[in-house]
Amino acid sequence: MSFSFLPNAVLVLCLGSLVQLAAISWRRHVARDAVLCVIVLLASLASIMLPTFLIMTGSLPLFSSDSWGSYAGALIILSVIAIVLMSRHGAISADPSVNSEYFILLTLATLGGVAMTCAVNVISFFLGLETLSLSLLGLIAFRNERLDAGEAAMKYLLLSGVASATLIFGFALIFAETGSLRFAMPDLSHLPEPMIGTMGVILVLTGMFFKLSAVPFHLWLADVLEGTTIPVASLVAVTSKIALFAAMLRYFSSVNLGVPSAQVNEILIVAVLSMLGGNLMAVVQTDLRRLLAGSSIAHVGYLLVAFLSPQPFGVASAAFYLAAYAISTLGVFAIMNGVLPQGRDIREWHGLFRRKPAAALAMSIMLISLAGIPPAVGFFAKFYIVAAGVSAHQILLLFVLILSSTIGLFYYLRLILIMLTPAPEGYVSRAELSMPTPANATLIAVLACATLVLGIVPGALVDRSQGIVVTPVPIPVHSTIP
């Protein structure tokens, strides 16, 4: 007899999206739909805290509930709430008749992400992943009047299709070898044909790295961030990465990553490439969104360092880092969205300290946090990753981490410098300063405070993250049904 849990959040989000759909088909009202979306998200957040109330017995285990899943799920939901607060009607679409769907897609993306964080079966993981990807696709293409939105969506669709196919093929190979759809890396040494199993895992990794945008599977990210609206860009850069990283950690929780193997070597190389590649890419960018794409790739590399450090230190540091990264990145996007929505070129940000001191201060706090300088939360986040790496003797990774962080310092601090100095002679600014909406302004203030407070008093989050464990994916007792 095995048990399968249907996590509360998944249930609430399913029902919530149905309610939203019903509301739209009755009558369109954008403000109402936005509020409805926030209510659904808050309800799902609350439901994470409650014990699971739907347990199915005797069926195929699809989901499990553990502290890691709850933590990542809560982070995902919180980040989507932040994104809803960022979204302005005008920015979503020029055509008001389709604005309401935007919020359903956000709910569905959340549903996909949350499902991924607690999936213990390949099928449920894949369903979650595709729910998230397809909602993202819709969101990226949402601003239908702009050409580059369509282009970004098309690129994402094609490449995501390639990656999903690779992923499925990898799962198929593993299934062929093990006969199990358990969402956990198989013990390759006990397989009749270890080579096939290894290839399967490598293909799975390709699919996952693509969604995480790790080097060299990262090329789509900059184009997509550039082509879409700022809230959706932050959804791509933050929410989908949390979801995938959470699932990836669960997938590999059954094996010891301290022992070298083909997979571990690949992850190691990808981590090195991501840290260096992401930062090097960001150094030369003059487009703020492409710069943030590079930064986001580099942060995935840092997370992989935590990933390669053994449990439970690695899990705790990864959990802390995910939160710090989410807060600071969302903060940067929120400020972009609220203050300088057209500020694509970094030269547009010249003299912001004079024109909008509070926003410039908040932006500096976020950048300092991303660069990993005290007293912002990013310092402790990076500190814990380094500590985890030291305890796992990952000398090479630490060396690259420090080297690439130094490169990273350059472009984060350059942005602060730009905000402090007046625009160069002859540069004609095209972007206009805008007044953030009350919701957006509140969001910026909350995120800035969180960055500072968690950096000075990290104890609360540290205690929270140190209690997190990833329970190994259960082995079904009767494996007649895969």
Binding site: K155, M199, L219, E266, G459
Partner: protein, 625 residues
Amino acid sequence: MTPIPAIVWGVSLVATLLPLVIACPLFVSIILMLTGGKLPARATTLLVGAGMGLCALFAVISAYSFLTGPDSLGALHVVLWNWMQVGNFTAQIALSLDRLSLVMMLVVSCVGFLILVYACAYMYDDPDIARFFAYMTLFVASMLLLVLASDLLAVFVGWEGVGLCSYLLIGFWYGEQANAVAARKAFVVTRVGDALFLLGMLLMATAVGSLDIPTLLAVGPHAPSTTLTLGMFLLLGGAMAKSAQVPLQTWLPDAMAGPTPVSALIHAATMVTAGVYLLARLHGLFVLTPAAMLACAVVGFVTILLAAGSALVQTDIKRILAYSTMSQLGYMYLALGCGAWHAAMFHLVTHAFFKALLFMAAGSIILRVHHEQDIFKMGGLRKDMPWVFTAFLIGSAALAGLPLITAGYFSKELILGSAYEVSPIFWAGALFGAFLTSIYIFRCVFIVFWGGHRTHAHGRSGMAMALPMAILSVLAIAGGWMEMPDAIANVHIFSNLLSPVLGALPQEHGTSLLIVGSLVPIAGVTIAWTLWRPRDVAPTPAESPAIATLRADWGFDTLYDRIFVRPFMVLAHLNRRDFIDRFYDLIAALTQGSGQAIARLQSGQVRRYAGWIAAGTVAALCLAV
């Protein structure tokens, strides 16, 4: 080790008030910084007065309720939050109140309050008053953190904070280049000490595995003795630089470039004594390293004599007080080196009273004679400002240690007695230092206040300046009566207060030492009177090459200039093109180049992107086969 019961913020009155003692000045500082000088001077002074008043009030209340509470013999450990935790190493932001930190907390908050009230009047017309008080209150907050923190890492935060504020305040009037240079000098010299302190701290952390002071004291003795000795030497080095002890003393006289309340608060009463407090705090480890203790005593001994000698020939009233501070700190280090923790702490307290008083009085004089600081251009001020004269006289008497009636007498006698116990040489030197002290300070008194008028005094010192001086005058006299030798009266309030932390007071010596110690200051005053009593001709400073050397701090400045500053400048000059930087330029170019190469991959063509995905997968597969 008996674990100290840790309590969380808010469960008792002391635990609630203790963090507020630090928070009050900190908030005032933050408000002043955020308003950026837009507050009017009146609002600024009111804010500062209120904040510091609350700080002192909370300090007094928590001290009272601690001493009457159940833990009064032990320590109260208030954990605010867990700062970081890596493996077995934990650093907490926690405050600990025991009888030692209680004394320091009271000195810092109460004397600090008085000096800031004085400063409100002193700085009222300065256009940058908000900046001044933002730094001053930040200083008080940092100093209180240094005193109360129970973890060396948090102590270090306070340690660096006071250093920073000292730098900012010495160079407060940065319009004049000399002030900025003095500030930089203070910063660089104390930085040498800070580096030593940091090294010592890291060494202790590695040896003991914790920086929590109670743990350090409990586990530290089991560390290898060489490690312990090295660690204590490094910490001693850090303390010495902060306290301007030979050979890291050159910054203190120049630090007088700051406004006078700064000199009173930072360079007399509190920051410069931080090292003394820290060593007393760690006395359990210090006592295990006789070599470090001997070094400490020798350093104090040398500083007493060198600084007193320099003070004898200074012409600037503030520089006289600066050298005297150095010399008095030398007494505290001598006491620490002799293991007389009580004596060092007692002298720290009385010195805070009378030296702050002297600086305040000097500041009042300077303000009223048009910012003249040369004592040979003053004279006959006794009649122009009788109250300031009284205050200065009381301070000088206490500094000279005139017997029975002054606080300085009792604390100095305690040190002399303990020095005699260790070595009669120390005793004799310290006694000679006391002799010089009474000569130089009464030289200053007779030249400034007696004789004919050589300057015009104007205005009056307001209530805000007079009241703190009056209170400190009382303390400079009566403060000594809380600890008297048995030969005079059996009063041991101060040592009884500190005994639970510092151990029992050692046995006292005969009355003969006491009599000699009492006669020496009187002899000094007499000699000063014969040399500088009012005559028909105005006094002039003595001039000779030897005296010039003495005046310039025994040539230390020139020496350091020759062996450190100039070679460094020559090196910097040779390296104008910065050949090391060329290397980094190369790295920067490499970074830019590879960045551009990576950006070129971003061609925008989907087929290329898909190609990279395939290439990555194939490469991984090849790696696995």
